[in-house]
């Protein structure tokens, strides 16, 4: 009885170790595949967004307005100039702008080239410049 239990325990341990090794490598493979695909998808999204910005900027502006509104961020101005797309925002905390930049990245994959933040007692103003190819 005890020998059977010992054998069972050894078999279960062996099964768990081999399954864990196999699952871990599968998980790592899935993770790296996903990261690769995600990066690729962002490149395609960036290209698509650039095209949309060139051809129909108002559609992009509206989407950005709605994004800032969802996140309770004051969008003061949004415009295109020689450098690219410029967005002026009024924020209350640094976390707000980080979240907004991340959302912009996952929604449009624009290339952020510059951030300017002016702090005063009353408020903080952020200017984001996204490149336009």
């Amino acid at each position: 009885m005890a020998s059977i239990l010992l054998l069972f325990f050894i078999s279960v341990s062996h099964w768990i170790i081999s399954q864990t090794t196999s699952s871990k490598s599968k998980l790592l493979s899935a993770k790296t595949d996903y990261e690769y695909v995600y990066e690729g998808a962002l490149l395609i999204l960036g290209r698509t967004s650039e095209d949309l910005l060139q051809n129909n900027p108002n559609e992009v502006f509206d989407s950005i307005r709605s994004l800032s509104s969802e996140q309770s961020i004051l969008l003061m101005d949004i415009r295109l100039n020689d450098e690219g797309m410029v967005i002026d925002l009024g924020i209350e905390s640094l976390d707000q702008i980080i979240k907004f930049i991340e959302s912009m990245h996952s929604s449009f994959a624009f290339n952020l080239i510059e951030l300017s933040l002016i702090s005063s007692d009353e408020q903080k103003t952020v200017t984001l410049i996204y490149s336009s190819n």
Binding site: M1, A2, S3, L5, L6, V12, I16, Q19, T20, S23, K24, K26, L27, A30, K31, D33, Y34, Y36, V37, Y38, E39, G40, A41, L42, L43, I44, G46, R47, L94, I98, I101, E102, H105, A109, F110, N111, L112, I113, E114, L115, S116, L117, I118, S119, S120, K124, S131, N133
Partner: protein
Amino acid sequence: MKTYFIHSCKSNENIEVYEYLNSQLLDTSEIDSDQLLQAIEPNSIVNYLLPSDRCIVLNGKKNESETEEVFKARFLMEHEHELIDDVSSNSFAYSDEMELVALAATDVIRPINDLLNQCASDARIIPEHFLLHSIADNACIEHREHFVLSFSDGSGFCTNEANLESYLTVLNRKHPDYKPHLLSKNKILQNTFSNSVEDNASLFDLHGHLMSESQPVFPNFFRGYFSIKSIFRKLDLTRNQIGISAIFLALMIALPIINLSLMDSYERQYRQKINQTFLSINPNFRRVINPRAQMDELLRNQPSLQTGSIDLNAFAYLRALDLENITRTSIDFETTIMLLELNDLPQIKYALIERLIEESGMMIISDELVKTDSSVSGVIQLRYSFE
């Protein structure tokens, strides 16, 4: 540590248990063999004295080159004619020091061996007459109308009072010179061995002699084996400890399985996300076979693309610098240059910022700060690291 001596009762199926602690007799009891587990404390020494009429002891010497199994086979083959039962139905015990082999019916030894294994103690099953060897090679003891005789060739015998006389007649005929040390006041014995030396040692004294030996050299029939019951008894766990151990064991099995299922679930989620990503690019997308190759294929069809990654390191630095004290901050993500403009920042706060710059490994490109005794103003340009 307690030491137990177990003798078979000759009058019935019960056993006599003698319990000692540090060579002092604590208790004697006559119990049924089913009650033995309750009577024996785990992790003690248990000596089961096998009645000498249940075994035979023969001289035998194992050659140095022989393994135990080879010696056993050779010995049984050589002594086959002396054995009543079939060779295979005998249990074999050998003492290298005494060069003696003891044989007993496996049917007799196995139940005792199984019982002692459950006791979770250091157990021995030795022929009863070896107790007498501490007194003399030829000796005889009476205990509870039961007589045990030992002989100088290592063999022994036991009998009850009813059969003593007839046994002694046979013995006298076979070994007329046999003069044992007598540990008995029995008249029959005294008459038969009138010239023998009388000894007052009792059974307890014989137990004491055996206890004084750290490793008895007598042939031992006991064979220990792995059993759950004996492990439980050896560990001597309380109910709470058993409960905790069971939970611990269950967790030991359950946690890796949970871990496996979590990893499988994460893997499925990643695969689903890959599918969704492809579907978001092309709603007509059907099946992911090799995601990397399929993505490469999609990218090949696109015009020149620019990487739009964001570097969150810059934000980590901003968090650490405490923006409340900085009038203007500018980050150029392409050159990884950060510009900080300070306006009448108290010296103490600037010292903190300076320390943070040092600790974070940022490189100062230009420093146009004007420092007075109380405050700092001006612009400083830093290059931050990507790592």
